[in-house]
């Protein structure tokens, strides 16, 4: 990473200005506290060096954010927004120091509008709280990342987080109707509105979605809600091979004639990590892979019919058994296992690469064959799991703790994997984002005209490049990064 060249630094006077804006309680220069906030869920040892913000701030309103940005823009001080820090791409890591903006105090649900089926929230609301608030009103907020008990909605929007219900409802962006955004110079604007259609101008809402804090800072979000299905059921289906599991996926729609809310895959290695972590067992845990298929609807009998149809089909297609979870205790058990795979792997392995690959759904088996071959070649293991219904597989390459030069080996293995992904028509990240972690690989997947276009978009929004520098976009031709 290049050293910051022409960015301004946070002087005592800047801290004073920030305190004047936010009050003393809204600003921290405590090194230890800054260190805690200067990272996300990417382990710090994966960076070339620790990155630290110079000052940490806790705005409580759009006005606060606007004043912070106006000042930062004048002085060319980098500003990194931070949600809950559950990101898996280093997006919230302050790569060039400067001001780190935590949204934990902008955490109010401002309005639940049942007439227009939408909810207006601040960016620091925890995703699961939105789900709960909607559910209380008999409504569904469809965003459902596995980290939802922790992540902030602002982070979800900035990353266009996916999750478990993408095949039916789309990623976070599909639920976003409007955004209040503070632009780099401190001006405040609304993109979109409580409208289901809108062609008045560019679709800036969906440009902001997934922009990882590089184009503007999101201060309010209007989310779309749906009627909450009355009944849900999860099928847990063990398969003798990963391939059989994946081949079954398209059959659900084609022959089963249903669109499940989710189709998740957990391979044997992933499941055993989760079982160890949770000290629990799922049935048939020796199987090569398990699918979780979620069906939902408003009529118990209809859902039961669909369950039988999909279940029988699975058995015809080689499933070892079909388990049916339709009450909270068994559904929770199954999802808890699914959702803790990521943490379990981090708990038991030191040397891993956590990939977020996405390929056309019919190429997933090819991808996994390639991963197998790669594992043999590089003498490593892999744990694969993820949202297989949408072709998004979290491939985790795992190397032994005591392996010398694991870092270099991993880098090469990863390069080979990326090459395969590209050939399969896939790409680098489906939902975790580019951030700091994957930026260097971006040119392998996007061509020069597109990279150039991204640069121009970035500079149109943020001419001084103060917004989350170091992430997602190459905007400075000379240095490849900072310095206007």
């Amino acid at each position: 990473m290049n050293e910051p060249t022409r960015f301004g630094t946070v002087t005592p006077e800047v801290v004073e200005r920030l305190s004047a804006i936010l009050g003393a309680g809204g600003v921290s220069v405590d090194g230890e506290k800054i260190a805690v906030y200067s990272r996300d869920e990417v382990a710090e040892r994966f960076w070339d060096r620790p990155y630290r913000a110079e000052v940490l701030v806790f705005p409580e309103s759009t006005r606060h954010v606007s004043e912070i940005l106006r000042m930062a823009n004048e002085r060319r001080i980098p500003v990194t927004p931070r949600g809950a820090g559950t990101g898996l791409s280093g997006g919230a890591v302050p790569a060039f120091g400067g001001i780190l903006v935590s949204f934990e105090r902008m955490n109010r649900i401002l309005e639940l509008d049942t007439e227009n089926l939408c909810m207006t929230v601040e960016p620091g609301v925890i995703t699961a709280e939105i789900t709960r608030a909607a559910r209380k009103a008999g409504l569904l907020y469809a965003g459902d990342p596995c980290s939802g008990d922790a992540s902030f909605i602002g982070g979800n929007v900035a990353e266009n987080a996916g999750g478990n219900k993408v095949i039916k409802y789309g990623p976070t962006g599909s639920s976003v109707l409007a955004l209040e955004v503070v632009l780099a110079d401190g001006s405040v604007t609304w993109f979109g509105g409580k409208r289901r259609k809108d062609v008045t101008g560019y679709d800036f809402v969906h440009l902001m979605v997934g922009s990882e804090g590089t184009l503007g800072i999101i201060t309010k979000i209007v989310l779309k809600l749906l009627p909450l299905p009355a009944f849900g059921v999860d099928l847990l289906i063990p398969f003798p091979t990963v391939e059989a599991a994946i081949r079954f996926v398209p059959r659900i729609a084609l022959e089963g004639r249903v669109t499940p809310a989710s189709i998740e895959l957990v391979d044997h290695h992933s499941l055993s990590q989760a079982e160890k972590f949770l000290n629990t067992r799922l049935p048939f845990d020796q199987a090569a892979a398990h699918l979780i298929v979620q069906l939902e609807g408003n009529d118990r009998e209809v859902v039961a019919d669909e369950t039988e149809r999909v279940g029988k089909l699975a058995l015809e297609k080689g499933a070892l058994e079909v388990f049916v979870a339709d009450n909270r205790s068994s559904r929770d058990k199954l999802w808890k296992a699914r959702k803790s795979v990521a943490e379990a792997i981090m708990a038991y392995y030191q040397n891993y690469a956590k990939e977020d690959l996405v390929v056309p759904t019919d190429r997933v088996p090819d991808l996994l064959f390639a991963v197998d071959a790669l594992c043999r070649k590089w003498r490593m293991e892999a744990a694969n799991y993820g949202h297989v219904g949408d072709g998004n597989i979290h491939v985790n390459l795992l190397m032994a703790d005591d392996r010398p030069h694991w870092h270099e080996d991993m880098e090469q293995a990863r390069q080979e994997l990326y090459e395969t992904v590209r050939q399969l028509g896939g790409t680098l990240s489906g939902e975790h984002g580019i951030g700091l972690k994957r930026k260097a690989y971006l040119p392998q997947f996007l061509d020069a005209p597109q990279l150039e276009l991204m640069r121009r978009v970035k500079l149109a929004f943020d001419p001084n490049g103060i917004l989350n520098p170091g992430k997602l976009v190459f905007w400075d031709k000379k240095t490849g990064e900072a310095g206007a």
Partner: protein
């Protein structure tokens, strides 16, 4: 091959995660709230299915409930149960545990006979754990509660039951009833084939008339207890903050609060043995020997009877707490307090019960009583209650109290309120008002036993402060030897094993002291451990300390660790990230120690101490120790 005919009691409970209250009417909002099979009943069903798989036989599931309870029964059928019986009648509505047990007993008689009856140790809504033992006692069947392992033998079975400090093994004949805890197995998930079969299988519905029950004996009409009031305990945090030279005051306040919560009193019975032996504590009291058959034949009746507990030769502290509380209740009724102490041998001084408030102590002693046998104990207590005719009977809500007392209540035909945290006398009519938490602590219910006597309650240990001993109190100690017929029992206790002291699991501890990244170094946990030791508490941890391997994963509190609800949670050097709060914010009393006044942990703390933990923690441990010393 033994063919086992097994019946499993199944309760459909509201999904506690979704429980909401109508604040105006004080009732549960059930609309839109999902239901689940009571989790421990699933373990009971799993046990039944695995026994059937091993020994052959059949499994019948029985549920009393509204028509929707059919769903729970169908789930059981899907898991492999052979038959499902739904006890459904308007007349059953409003049943307390006693009326429920009666209805279940009638159903068992009607659909049985069975070799084995199984139930969960308690349900997540009522949390009484009384239905199993009451049903068994009403049917005259032996029972073992809190079972964590079973072996079927040629002659009956051997069950291990989990108790506070380990396990006890008991041999029981068939037929008998077992209530199970979750350690016993991992419930399975139904298969598609099971679901398909269950969807089409019949569920037999039986009404009060089918069971030969008179509507007066069922439901609300047949229930000895009445809920008179529901309150919603609001967790309000006092949110006091102390820093700088205010810290001493804050620390003193913490110690004071712990004391008033009864957490600094004597805990280890061993200590009481010492005081019993120290010469100045012992007054020469000569027990009055009484012949069982003649004892208290002409007792005037009335008063409060405490069913005491002795363990390893000493009187359990909860018995002394209850003696104190009983004194208070008796005083407002102008009556007397009797404590019954059953034991095999005793190194302790029964007179301590008198110094804590009793008027007389009945030491019921026989070598056969050294190992716990609920069957013998419940019959002994029931016999004494019949003779002494007390108005009120209290026992500690320990595993043994919560096992024996339901059987006693069934034998003497009266209601029982489980696990009370408040007891008082209604000034209007002299009834005992029994207050207890329910539905995961979401409500506090106040219960009365209007028309039957005695009024019985088990009381959560350490709810009432141990009163100071009053050396001037006088009373009588009687010694009774129960006749052999009481000691003949179908249950044979085989022995007990105390758990190796590797620290209490954090979910079970009353006090949890947790350390976070603020401890700086792995050995920082020593500080936390020392404070925990002073409080007899368990050690918890935040995730980064577990990740850094300063401490093991079983200690992790939070979203991806354990959820704990201790009476006291002390967070040391923990910032209070939402994922950590998710694991501890429902603790009764929270103390936070952090040098950052903005730390999120202070938002949930009752008392926040702002400063350096390396300074505060030792001072706090010192202050608590000093206060404990002063107690003695």
């Amino acid at each position: 091959m033994i063919l086992l005919k097994i019946a499993v009691f199944l309760k459909q409970v509201p999904d506690t995660d979704e429980v909401r209250m109508d604040e105006k009417t004080g009732t549960l909002i059930r609309e839109g709230v999902g239901t689940v099979i009571n989790p421990l009943d699933q373990n009971a069903l799993e046990l039944a299915l695995s026994l059937r798989a091993a020994k052959g036989g059949s499994v019948t599931v029985v549920s009393m409930g509204p028509t929707q309870a059919e769903l729970a029964l169908r789930e059981a059928l899907a898991l492999g149960a052979d038959e499902a019986v739904l006890l459904c009648d308007r007349a059953f509505a409003g049943s307390d545990t006693w009326a429920t047990a009666r209805t279940l007993a009638a159903a068992v008689r009607k659909t049985g006979p069975y070799d084995l009856l199984l139930a969960g140790a308690k349900a997540t809504d009522g949390e009484t754990g009384q239905v199993g033992p009451e049903t068994a006692a009403m049917m005259g069947l032996p029972f073992v509660s809190n079972v964590c392992a079973v072996e079927i033998r040629a002659e009956g079975l051997v069950a291990s039951r989990s108790v506070e400090d380990g396990t006890e093994r008991t041999r029981a004949p068939l037929p008998c009833l077992l209530t199970v805890v979750h350690e016993i197995n991992e419930p399975s998930m139904p298969t598609l084939a099971g679901k398909m079969r269950a969807r089409r299988a019949p569920v037999h519905v039986l009404s009060a008339a089918d069971l030969g029950l008179n509507p007066e004996e069922c439901g609300l009409a047949g229930s000895p207890t009445r809920v008179v009031r529901i309150a919603f305990p609001k967790v309000t945090r006092s949110g006091l903050r102390f820093s700088g030279n205010e810290l001493d005051r804050g620390i003193a306040l913490v110690a004071e609060r712990l004391d008033s919560m009864g957490l600094l009193g004597q805990k280890r019975p061993a200590r009481s043995v010492d005081s019993a032996r120290s010469p100045e504590a012992v007054r020469p009291i000569r027990p009055i020997e009484l012949a069982w058959e003649e004892a208290f034949k002409n007792d005037p009746g009335g008063g409060v009877l405490v069913c005491g507990e002795c363990r390893n030769g000493s009187i359990h502290p909860s018995t002394l707490e209850l003696a104190g509380k009983a004194r208070e209740l008796a005083d407002s009724r102008d009556s007397s307090v009797t404590v019954v102490l059953p034991f095999g041998h005793l190194d302790d001084d029964p007179d301590r019960c008198i110094r804590h408030g009793a008027d007389r102590v009945l030491a019921v002693c026989h070598p056969a009583l050294s190992l716990y046998n609920p069957d013998v104990e419940s019959r002994l207590f029931a016999a004494l209650i019949r003779r002494l005719r007390p108005e009120i009977v209290l026992a500690a809500a320990t595993t043994s109290g919560r096992t024996t007392l339901p059987a006693v209540a069934a034998l003497v035909d009266t209601g029982l309120t489980a696990d009370c945290t408040g007891l008082s006398i209604d000034p209007e009519n002299g009834d005992l008002l029994q207050t207890r938490p329910a539905i995961g602590g979401n409500v506090l219910a106040t219960i009365r036993t209007p028309s039957r006597r005695p009024q019985m309650a088990t009381v959560r240990p350490r709810t009432f402060r141990l009163p100071p001993e009053d050396p001037s109190r006088r009373g009588e100690v009687y010694r009774l030897t129960p006749p052999e017929r009481f000691l003949l029992s179908p249950l044979v206790p085989l022995g007990r094993e105390t758990r190796q002291e590797e620290g209490t699991p954090i979910q079970d501890a009353e006090v949890v002291v947790s350390g976070g990244k603020g401890l700086k170094r792995p050995d920082g946990f020593r500080l936390v451990e020392e404070l925990a030791a002073v409080l007899d508490g368990a050690v918890g941890a935040s995730r980064p300390t577990v990740e850094a391997k300063w401490i093991g994963y079983p200690h992790q509190v939070g979203l991806s660790g354990k959820v704990v609800t201790p009476r006291v949670y002390i967070a040391v050097g923990i910032s209070g990230a939402i994922q950590h709060l998710a694991g501890m914010q429902t603790s009764e009393f929270i103390v936070a120690i952090n040098r950052d006044p903005e730390a999120g942990i202070f938002r949930v703390a009752d008392i926040g101490l702002v400063g350096d933990l390396f300074d505060i923690v030792p001072r706090m441990a010192g202050a608590i120790k000093a206060r404990k010393e002063a107690q003695r």
